[in-house]
């Protein structure tokens, strides 16, 4: 018998479809690390990220049959994770519209500061962002969605998405630069 580790993706998917728990474990093993990263970006902390990851993988297993072998499997899983993260976001918090003390204002940033940061450090900063900021920031900056798409996903207007993104950026830049005034 061929070891599960050696199975090519399509074969592994087939095995998973027949509800082979071992194949599903292998699938998890292959993608969980990367997907934890994705979930971390959308979560406040590691616990929340785990919740999202867990829900996401249950959905991956249950919806596997709807995966068309046309696109990237990883991309498909990632989309499920992002959808799940958005679900969690909706469940946990309404959009942080209340974070509107000040209009966005220009802040500069230093390339070097960002380059020198470890991914973990940066992740920490992203996680500290208010939920609404973080979600929009991720969808736009990392995932590359457009504002109209984000608006649809989050149930907000395109304009809100834009303004929130601008604030989110400033917020993050401030965090990165360690501005201790916590001016938001």
């Amino acid at each position: 018998m061929k070891h599960l580790k050696e199975l090519a993706e399509p074969e592994l998917i087939q095995q998973c479809l027949s509800n082979n728990a071992l194949a599903q474990n292998e699938l998890y093993r292959r993608f969980a690390g990367k997907m934890t990263g994705v979930c971390m970006r959308y979560a406040k902390n590691r616990d929340d990220a785990k919740d999202i990851l867990q829900d996401g993988f249950v959905r991956v297993y249950l919806n596997l049959k709807s995966f068309k072998a046309e696109g990237s499997f990883e991309g498909w899983i990632k989309r499920i994770m992002i959808n799940t993260a958005i679900k969690h976001y909706h469940k946990n918090l309404k959009l942080a519209n209340n974070v509107d003390i000040e209009a966005a204002y220009d802040v500069g940033f230093d390339d070097n500061v960002i380059s020198r940061m470890s991914v973990g450090e940066l992740m920490g900063k992203v996680q500290v962002m208010p939920d609404g900021y973080r979600t929009i920031f991720n969808l736009y900056v990392v995932e590359g969605y457009q504002h109209n798409e984000i608006g649809e996903m989050l149930g907000i207007s395109e304009g809100t998405s834009k303004s929130q993104l601008a604030r989110a950026r400033n917020y993050l830049i401030k965090l990165i630069q360690g501005n201790s005034s916590a001016r938001i």
Binding site: A21, G33, G37, D55, L62, I86, H90, L122, V142
Partner: protein, 552 residues
């Protein structure tokens, strides 16, 4: 900042974040499988519920936010399934439920953030989910009349989002021994004591706990600049850092106070929250549990070992019929959870609550186990494993761990109270020792010959346990010995006496129904012998001592 700059910034961030890859948490697999399987089992029922839910949702004009395109209804089904699932009692201690978020009201809109309940992981503690959520709902509605309330179980009702939304989710406290969840929820709402001079000056903060026991505090301050903060953690410690991290050494409730001063206006705001610390760092032991995924026929028979990095085996246990295992009272440290014996299974484990990362840093994920080749052990004779061998029945079956010559577990066999193997696995030729899986006591040796034959060398202590099945008297014996049988049975009984060299010195058959027989052993020289009594393939071995002077 110009658009170009934004793009540059985005690119830098994207590059970094996209490369992030964490160690996969194998412990989650336990819950994932449990939830998936439960969902699959009850899919039909859930479909009906989901349809009803959709109908209801249609009636109240709500709509589901997620799910895209033609996947929408499917995902809705599923989501319904998941949330129902989340309510169910998870035997492995998954998601509990309790309050977590409370958004500021319109009047407090300048407070930036919701109150975030602490997030302990670990065992679900019964009904803690409902009480706190109810109580916070009550309080919140009293304070924020007219605001929309939403509980975690309610479906999304969006499109009506306002600044003043109060969001209460009853979804995610994983409360491990949160001592007074209701009180916690009540107190978790920040109380602001504003400086009388200005309404503009308030403070709020969030906190969360991480696996290393530490609590992280994040202030949200509306002052535009020049803010100094002072944190009192409630245990005598304090900090002036903006985002301090604090470790509590003892479990309990602590009032954390944030005092923020705007140094320009001298406006001072104070806010406190009560937080519950489930376990402090004085915790010295934990529970490690998990599941071994295996075919149903093996699920209850898998040996799991808790091993120190240096190879010392700390604890052994056997999975239950669902594949679960548990190690209790494990001291802090790093361990390996090892499984052994059966082909094709995988194992996950997770530790207990706060202690997790301390106790169990290493995830072992075994999915491809080599198929043992060798011989089926059909039956092991001469064994009787009842602690009280008088109570002999099949219910007394035990799991025996077969260890190879290097003391590594190879496989397990299930043995009934009479020492008969009920189920076994193939074993290569060689010499093995057996351990009682429950007591961990050595229970004899096992040899598998190159011809596939198997034999057992019972330990002396086992022979003594057999004496209630077969009695020898007198013992030490003289000219004769009386072989007594507690249960006669209705089959002939073979009696064989062998010397310690293994040679047969006497052999005879008793008719069925015999309860005792006097055996002439006058011809035997003095020394120790095994008396092997065999009936219906079940064998009991006793030790007989023959006096050397032949006079007794």
């Amino acid at each position: 900042m110009s658009t170009d700059n934004y793009n540059r910034f985005d690119e830098l961030i994207r590059e970094k974040l996209d490369s992030y890859e964490a160690e996969p948490d194998m412990d989650l697999l336990v819950n994932i499988h449990a939830r998936k399987n439960r969902f699959l089992k009850s899919r039909n029922l859930l479909t009906i519920i989901a349809l009803l839910a959709i109908l209801m949702a249609g009636i109240i004009g709500g709509y589901y936010l997620s799910g895209t395109g033609n996947e929408r209804s499917q995902q809705t089904n599923e989501e319904e399934g998941l949330s129902l699932d989340g309510k169910a009692d998870n035997p492995l201690g998954g998601n509990g439920g309790a309050p977590s978020n409370l958004q500021p009201s319109a009047k407090q809109a300048f407070l930036l953030s919701a109150n975030q309940g602490s997030a302990f992981t670990g065992k679900q503690s019964g009904n803690t989910s409902t009480t706190p959520s109810l109580s916070s709902t009550k309080q919140a509605s009293a304070k924020n009349t007219g605001n929309m309330l939403r509980t975690g179980r309610n479906k999304e009702r969006s499109g009506n989002r306002t600044l003043s939304d109060v969001v209460i989710t009853a979804d995610k406290i994983k409360g491990n021994e949160v001592q007074n969840p209701a009180a916690d929820a009540d107190n978790d709402k920040a109380k602001n004591k504003n400086d009388k001079t200005t309404d503009e000056c308030t403070a709020a903060f969030d906190y969360y706990s991480s696996y290393d026991h530490s609590f992280h505090f994040m202030p949200h301050i509306n002052a535009s600049a020049n803010v100094s903060v002072n944190w009192q953690f409630g245990d005598g410690e304090s900090s002036k850092e903006l985002n301090p991290k604090h470790i509590y050494t003892k479990a309990g409730q602590y009032a954390v106070t944030l005092t923020a001063v705007n140094t320009k206006t001298n406006c001072k705001a104070e806010v406190y929250k009560l937080i519950s610390v489930a376990k402090g760092i004085e915790l010295t032991s934990t529970t490690i549990k998990g599941t071994v995924f295996a075919d149903a026929e093996y699920a209850g028979k898998i040996l799991v070992q808790l091993v120190e990095p240096n190879g010392n085996i700390i604890q052994r246990t056997i999975t239950n019929t669902k594949g679960y295992y548990e190690f209790n009272e494990v001291g802090a440290g790093n361990y390996l959870v090892k499984t052994s014996g059966y082909k094709h299974y995988s194992s996950t484990y997770y530790g207990n609550a706060v202690q997790t990362e301390y106790a169990t840093n290493i995830a072992v994920f075994k999915d491809d186990y080599e198929v043992l080749s060798g011989y089926d052990i059909q039956m092991i004779a001469n064994m009787n494993h009842g602690e009280n061998s008088t109570a002999q029945s099949d219910s007394g079956s035990k799991l025996m761990i077969i260890m190879d010559e290097n003391n590594n577990p190879v496989t397990t066999v299930v043995m009934n109270a009479n020492g008969k193997i009920i189920s076994s696995n193939k074993l290569p030729a060689g010499n093995y020792t057996m351990l009682d899986a429950q007591s961990g006591k050595p229970s004899g040796g096992l040899s598998v010959g190159n011809d596939g034959s198997s034999s057992v060398q019972p330990k002396d202590n086992l022979i003594s346990e057999n004496q209630s099945a077969v009695t020898l008297s007198p013992n030490p014996a003289g000219h004769y010995v009386n072989v007594g049988l507690t249960n006669a049975g209705n089959s002939p009984i073979d009696v064989t006496i062998i010397n310690y060299g293994g040679a047969i010195v006497k052999q005879f058959t008793l008719p069925s129904g015999s309860t005792s027989s006097s055996v002439d052993i006058n011809s035997l020289s003095g020394g120790s012998y095994h008396v092997i009594v065999k009936q219906n393939g079940i064998t009991v071995t006793s030790t007989l001592v023959k006096g050397s002077d032949n006079t007794k």
